[in-house]
């Protein structure tokens, strides 16, 4: 019961007592204004605008701008009529409802000349209202008691939460210290690890260079002997001409002059001079052996490729097949996937030992024990740090949740706190509505279909003097052509916590009626008044 209703009850009880004595006054005038309408004396409009003879009061013509001369007729557009309503509560109606054929006052006094057959229903209405008000009063009383418990619970809950918050804060401090310490440990361990790894890598790079150079030399020697058809230990123009692929301008004719040019202008070079020639032709040179053994076909399946001892194999594939992946993974892979680079040359990682031998560079050798030890130590430090950091994050979340809950506006005495993290449902013929206070409101079709969000917790939305009487849930699922769904929850006092109805007064704007003791107002002590009334 709202305080407003309580006042009605009081008024009702008071007026019943007073109206027992009928006081003479012009029709439609409330008792409180009786003194302005004195029989036989000129009447001054209540706004003071003019004074008229008394016989113009209620003469069915509007003389006063404020309508005060016609309290009992419909003559003034802005007048009002007072119904005494003995047995019920008195009230005002617009004077346009006098004699309009519709019974407005339960005492029938508004229809004194319209022929409308009105029944005096005041006693019945009064009885019903008293009953319902009494019932409301009982509910309010009980609800208010429950509310006190809720307030106590909320208080306790709040204290617990604050205590917990304090505990967690302490734990959190420890954790923070620990995280910082472990960070230092980690960083300390990572520095030598990094240096050792770099050393290892550098050594490997150097080694690779040496291997490369040796291979090149061997190849040159091999080519020299391949070219040196007459086995004189040197390469001549004629010998070179058999390799048309070396044609510098690739015009299809490899001339002697061109071959000579390749040999540095001489007809013949020996093995020493060939070294500089080799540098010019090695990119183009095709082994005679390969030419004969391998068909010109390039698009061979992986199986064959593997069998083909092609020198360029390992260089071509990474470029052609996996450039993107390489780029993406570059940084990540740096440390962990040192041998991945080779796997990715496709196809399989199951390389045969001899295949491995043929590889230009092979894989980087495993870390030496010393380096591996440094790595293991750093990893351990990292794991410990990560674990501590994760724990801290969890604690942080806890703190945040607690802070949120503690700072939530659960009403002046946190009486609405008990609704937090609860959900309430109402089932209608079509839908199940679900309200999780301070969280969200949703709707799910009873017979299949997905849930629709009718709004997330927004704010308290009641009028200024009763802000906790309405809740607003906003920004739900958008409507076609319309706004995002939203829900207004109207709270009324009751002894239970329950959803009583849901409607959609406007498209996608829902209205839910929700009963809770938390909204119950303190009932005024009515017992005496009620008791007094019954004696009448």
């Amino acid at each position: 019961m709202t305080s407003c209703q309580t006042q009605y009850l009081l008024m009702l009880l008071l007026s019943v007592g007073v109206s027992a004595v009928e006081v003479q006054r012009p029709r439609g005038v409330p008792l409180s204004k009786r003194q302005f309408y004195e029989e036989g004396k000129p009447f001054t409009c209540l706004d003071g605008s003019r004074t008229i003879p008394f016989d113009r009061v209620n003469d069915d013509y509007c003389d006063c701008k404020d309508g005060s001369d016609e309290p009992g007729t419909a003559a003034c557009p802005n007048g009002s009529f007072h119904c005494t309503n003995a047995g019920f509560r008195p009230g005002f109606i617009p004077s346009s409802r006098i004699n309009d054929g519709i019974c407005d006052c339960c005492d029938t006094t508004d229809e004194y000349n319209s022929g409308a057959a009105c029944q005096n229903t005041c006693r019945e209405l009064g009885r019903k209202e008293r009953e319902s008000l009494q019932k409301m009063a009982e509910i309010t009383k009980e609800g208010f008691l429950l509310k006190q418990q809720l307030i106590q619970e909320a208080k306790r809950g709040l204290e617990e939460k604050k205590a917990k918050q304090a505990d967690i804060q302490i734990g959190k401090k420890d954790l923070e210290t620990k995280v910082e310490a472990l960070r230092t440990v980690k960083e300390t361990a990572e520095q030598p690890e990094k240096e050792a790894k770099e050393r290892h890598l550098k050594a490997w790079e150097e080694q690779k260079a040496v291997i490369q150079m040796e291979k090149d030399k061997a190849k040159m020697a091999e080519v020299l002997s391949e070219l040196d058809d007459d086995a004189d230990g040197s390469v001549s123009v004629a010998e070179l001409l058999s390799h048309s692929e070396l044609d510098p301008d690739s015009d299809g004719s490899f001339t002697e002059a061109e071959a000579q040019g390749l040999l540095g202008g001489v007809d013949k070079v020996d093995s020493v001079a060939f070294e500089s020639v080799w540098n010019n032709i090695k990119d183009k040179y095709t082994s005679e052996q390969a030419n004969t053994e391998t068909p010109a076909e390039v698009e061979t399946p992986g199986e064959e490729i593997r069998e083909t001892p092609s020198d360029n194999d390992s260089e071509q594939y990474p470029e052609d097949d996996i450039p993107e992946e390489e780029e993406e993974d570059d940084e990540e892979d740096e440390e962990e996937d040192q041998d991945d680079g080779d796997y990715k040359q496709s196809p399989p990682p199951t390389q045969t030992p001899d295949k491995k031998d043929e590889d230009d560079e092979g894989t980087m050798p495993p870390f030496d024990q010393e380096t591996q030890n440094l790595i293991d130590a750093a990893q351990e430090a990292r794991d410990a740090f990560d674990e501590a950091e994760k724990a801290l994050r969890e604690v942080d979340d806890q703190v945040k949740n607690l802070e949120k809950e503690i700072s939530f506006d659960f009403g002046p005495n946190a009486e609405f706190a008990y609704l937090y993290s609860q959900c309430y449902e109402l089932s209608t013929s079509e839908y199940i509505y679900r309200l999780c206070p301070f969280n969200r409101m949703s709707q799910k079709p009873k017979f299949g279909g997905s849930e629709t969000n009718l709004g997330s917790w927004g704010h308290w939305a009641g009028p200024e003097d009763n802000i906790y009487s309405l809740m607003k849930y906003e920004h739900g699922t958008g409507c076609w052509q319309g706004p995002n769904r939203s829900t207004t929850i109207k709270l009324t006092c009751g002894t239970e916590t329950v959803v009583t109805s849901v409607s959609e007064p406007s498209r996608c704007e829902y209205l839910m009626e929700f009963i809770s003791p938390a909204i119950c107002q303190e009932p005024p002590s009515l017992d005496a008044a009620l008791h007094g009334h019954e004696e009448l």
Binding site: D59, D60, Y61, A74, A75, P77, P94, S96, R97, D100, G101, I102, S114, S429, C479, W480, Q481, G482, P483, S503, E504, P505, S506, R507, C508, E509
Partner: protein
């Protein structure tokens, strides 16, 4: 700028489509242009020139009532039969049909209230070039020229109107399809045997063009078993620069020339989110055009219910004001002229030429053909509260209570389609509207009423009584293959009853009986929506033209469907009360004659200022062609109005004949009290002004019902000689005496109203300030302003005790507002009846109030009528008065008594206090 806007429109549409998911603008691609409508394209390709038609004077027959003669098309030798009638009331009817059509061509039934009575035509002269006929007195003649055929209607030496003067008469004769005619030797034989049918047809084979025998638009194919059948005729109007009418279009009051675009289209269509200021077809069609100049008003009524296009051109359209002035100064001898051309897809040419000469003569001429506005129950003239949808009975009760709580009157609350059980009309949703009679009784207890929607599409559902009965009686429209036509609408798959059948309409009417329409009561009236008919999956969102109404194609009757639906529904409401109660039925689709059955509204408009603005010319255009009971959805249907727009719309709507707020399902609630106390007060005041003026509004409806004159009328109707009024469409008159200039601009600080009448005065109805006529008056406005003026020389009755509903005010007294002109005279009328039955035909009070020589008197205009009222005269307010020394009232029993008065010298307003005589009595009030 105009061209720019026009050119930008498609871009704008696209822009909207992209950025607003295409929801806020008409999809023009759904509707045909003239080029996409094959007959329009064919006909429009004909250019003015010498007509191939020749009158065969030797075939002329002149009887006492009509002239007939044959016309021959010299190109294809097909003969037509011309009938010419002189009709009572200064009208001429011209009918042209094929002399021997292959099969009958459709002639529109049921629109004319009777066979128009004729007057004798007399032959003045005749020679081989033609004949001259007299149209009665006043030297009015028709000259019929033979070669080429043309008609000229003369007044003295001046041509009033010419027909076929541009040679655009065209008649696509019915013919056999070439590929089938060869396969049918009997038909050929028949043709040979009957030379009159296709006499010399072989001489000039007409070529089949695309679209003659089949036409495809989007995914829909129109099989055209009857082939081409279009008719067309041109009318020239010398001396005319202003033409009006042919609603419904969202366009200016004064019709535009159409040379640079499509013609105005008349084809009833459910246009989703229609666009303004273009000639596209809308929900209704009235093929009536008025032509006006300072000397004469005429009209053309083209009685054809098929798809119709109207082209307008003018020899002055391109001229600037300066150019016109130059013509004037230099004495250019070219008179201005407007040329009009009508094109219809099928049927015959049946034209009524209304010769005026005054605007009111034209209204009365048209009314004598198609009838007048139905006289509505008083409640229907009040305020209507609608929304798609009021959700359930509790919602209805809450809205009803809201009006009482905020002290705003209303008469009808409306239920849209959601109130039904699954869009089965004549039923109620069993959960939301479980006890409709309780709900209706609740409203009735407050002297209020309800309108529920009944659409013509019927859910195909074997558990639905209405459907089963229609199917078993074979009342559905058939598809081209003979089965029941089915289309998609609100209920899903739906059938469409054939309302062109009288037996179907009788049956439909019987469904409104209280024992048939369960849950209905006396205070439940009806709304017919979607009756174009709307077919969601049909061509142009309507019915296939090759659907069949008995022997006729839908093509022939399309524009009449909505007319028939409303006719049958209104008849149902009359019958359920045993012929006692006046029905109220609102329709969206309409045709000529629809005024006889109720109200129309301008369909699904939008909450935009431009839509508020266009509601005025749209309703003015309807009023000119007989449909007075017109309104637009207050607030706008689509979208949500801002508060200023909503308030302004209420203020404007309160001064339009049909006053109903309506809103789309997807828009937020907008009952009048939802926008803060200040705006509630503004809306309340607007609605209350409507209710104080109900006696005047009701009188206007009575007049419209008696005379066919529009209620809401353009200024030129009353000031036909004042060219300054000819294109005004931001202000209008209600009857003769109230001039309204609604505020339709956002953030307006003032409006400029043209007050007509050289020797007239106008009184601001709110301040009683007097203004001279024939001036443009700037009126500063605030949010509470509704600029309205009362004509000096008029007397307007009001009831200033505004109550909950109109019927609560029945017995209330009147206040008479007497506005004096410069001659210190005034006239007005008072009409009173029971407000809801047909007894008004005999039982009513109709009085003339006149003020002259300082005496105001009430004289009985209908002494034979019987009615008594308890209403009395509580106050007389005389504007522009001087102070009398005393005021005497003399009643019919000879008694004299003195009346008290109050004189406001600053405004010259004399208020007589409580004279008190009965409103139905004879009396004189003398100022001395």
């Amino acid at each position: 700028m105009a061209t720019f806007t026009e050119r930008m429109a498609p871009v704008l549409v696209l822009w909207l489509a992209v950025f607003l998911s295409g929801t806020w603008a008409v999809d023009k691609g759904n509707f045909k242009t003239c080029d996409q409508s094959s007959f329009c394209k064919r006909q429009r390709a004909l250019k003015p020139g010498e007509s191939p038609y020749r009158a065969l004077l030797e075939t002329m027959e002149l009887t006492n009532t009509r002239l007939t003669l044959q016309l021959i098309n010299d190109n294809n030798k097909v003969r037509l039969l011309l009938e010419l009638y002189r009709l009572q009331g200064n009208m001429t009817r011209v009918k042209i049909n094929e002399l021997k059509p292959l099969k009958p061509r459709y002639e529109v039934p049921d629109v004319l209230i009777r066979e128009p009575p004729t007057e004798p035509l007399s032959l003045l002269s005749q020679d081989e070039n033609g004949v001259v006929l007299s149209l009665g007195a006043e030297s009015q003649r028709v000259i019929l020229s033979a070669r080429p055929f043309r008609l000229d209607i003369m007044e003295g030496r001046e041509v009033v109107m010419s027909l076929n003067s541009r040679g655009l008469l065209a008649f696509e004769h019915l013919r056999m399809r070439k590929d089938t005619s060869q396969a049918d030797p009997e038909a050929e034989k028949k043709e040979e045997a009957d030379p009159a049918a296709q006499p010399e047809a072989a001489k000039e084979e007409e070529k089949d063009e695309d679209g003659m025998w089949e036409e495809t638009f989007k995914s829909h194919t129109d099989s055209k078993p009857n082939g081409p059948s279009a008719v067309s005729l041109d009318f020239s109007l010398p001396g005319v620069e202003h033409v009006y009418g042919i609603p419904e279009h969202a366009d200016t009051l004064r019709l535009k020339t159409t040379e640079n675009g499509d013609p105005y289209r008349l084809y009833n269509l459910d246009v989703f989110q229609y666009e303004l200021y273009n000639p596209m077809a809308l929900y209704g069609a009235v093929p009536v055009m008025l032509a006006h100049n300072a000397q004469r008003t005429t009209g053309v009524f083209w009685l054809n219910a098929a798809e119709t296009w109207v082209d307008i051109s003018s020899n002055t359209a391109g001229k600037t004001v300066f150019g016109k002035m130059l013509d004037y100064v230099q004495g250019s001898n070219e008179t201005p002229q407007t040329d009009v051309r009508w094109i219809s897809e099928s049927g015959i040419i049946d034209v009524f030429i209304m010769l005026g000469p005054t605007p009111k003569d034209v209204f009365s001429q048209y009314a004598s053909l198609t009838g007048t506005q139905a006289f509505p129950p008083l409640a229907a003239v009040g305020y209507h509260q609608c929304r798609w949808n009021y959700n359930d009975q509790e919602d209805v009760a809450a809205v009803d209570a809201g009006f009482d709580e905020h002290d705003i009157p209303y008469d009808y609350i409306w239920l849209d389609i959601e109130h039904t059980d699954g869009k089965r009309y004549f039923t109620w949703d069993p959960h939301k509207f479980a006890t409709p009679k309780e709900m209706l009784q609740g409203l009735s207890d407050k002297k209020r009423k309800m309108v529920a929607i009944v659409d013509p599409h019927i859910k195909v559902d074997s558990n639905y009584k209405i459907h089963n009965e229609i199917r078993s009686r074979s009342f559905y429209i058939k598809n081209k293959d003979g089965g029941d036509y089915e289309g998609w609408c609100w209920p899903g798959s739906a059938g469409y009853p054939d309302f062109t059948r009288a037996d179907m309409r009788d049956w439909w009417a019987s469904m409104f009986a209280y024992d048939q329409y369960e849950g209905s009561m006396k205070n439940l009236d009806t709304w017919n929506d979607m009756n174009e008919p709307s077919v969601f999956n049909g061509p142009e969102v309507t019915m296939h033209k090759d659907a069949m109404h008995g022997a006729w194609e839908h093509r022939d009757v399309h524009n009449m469907y909505g007319f028939y639906v409303q006719m049958a529904t209104a008849e149902g409401l009359i019958q359920r009360s045993g012929g006692v109660e006046r029905p109220f039925v609102l329709t969206r689709a309409f045709f000529a004659g629809s005024q006889r059955y109720g109200a129309v509204w301008t369909g699904d408009n939008a909450a935009e200022w431009e839509h508020l603005k266009i509601s005025i010319p749209m309703c003015l255009s309807l009023g000119l062609v007989g449909i007075s009971f017109c309104g637009a959805d207050v607030g706008g249907f689509f979208k949500s109005p801002n508060t200023e727009l909503l308030v302004r719309w209420y203020q404007a709507g309160a001064y339009q004949p049909f006053f109903r707020a309506h809103a789309h399902l997807d828009t937020p609630r907008r009952e009048p009290w939802l926008f803060g106390p200040e705006n509630t007060a503004l809306i309340r005041e607007a609605v209350r002004q409507r209710y104080t003026l109900l006696p005047y509004w009701y009188l206007q409806f009575y007049h419209a019902h008696r005379t066919g004159e529009p209620i809401m009328r353009p200024l030129w109707v009353e000031y036909p000689e004042d060219p300054a009024t000819f294109a005004l469409e931001d202000e209008y008159l209600i009857g003769r005496d109230l001039l309204v200039h609604p505020v339709t601009e956002e953030g307006a600080r003032g409006v400029t109203a043209y007050l007509p009448g050289k020797d007239q005065v106008w009184f601001d109805v709110h301040t009683f300030q007097k203004h001279n006529g024939a001036q443009n008056l700037y009126i500063p406005v605030t949010m509470s302003s509704i600029p309205v003026f009362q004509r000096g020389g008029s007397i307007i009755p009001r009831k200033i005790r505004v109550r909950r509903s109109s019927s609560c005010m029945m017995q209330d007294p009147y206040t008479l507002y007497v506005a004096l002109n410069l001659q210190r005279t005034a006239e007005g009328e008072l009409y009173i009846d029971d407000g809801h039955t047909f007894n008004y035909e005999k039982e009513f009070i109709h009085r003339r109030l006149s003020f002259a020589n300082n005496v105001l008197s009430s004289v009985n205009l209908a002494p034979e009528a019987q009615f008594s009222t308890s209403s009395w005269i509580e106050r007389i307010v005389i504007l522009g008065a001087s102070k009398p020394s005393k005021v005497l009232l003399k009643t019919d029993d000879g008694q004299e008594s003195q009346v008290e008065f109050d004189f406001d010298a600053s405004m010259s307003v004399l208020t007589l206090r409580k004279p008190g005589m009965n409103a139905g009595a004879d009396w004189n009030v003398m100022l001395q």
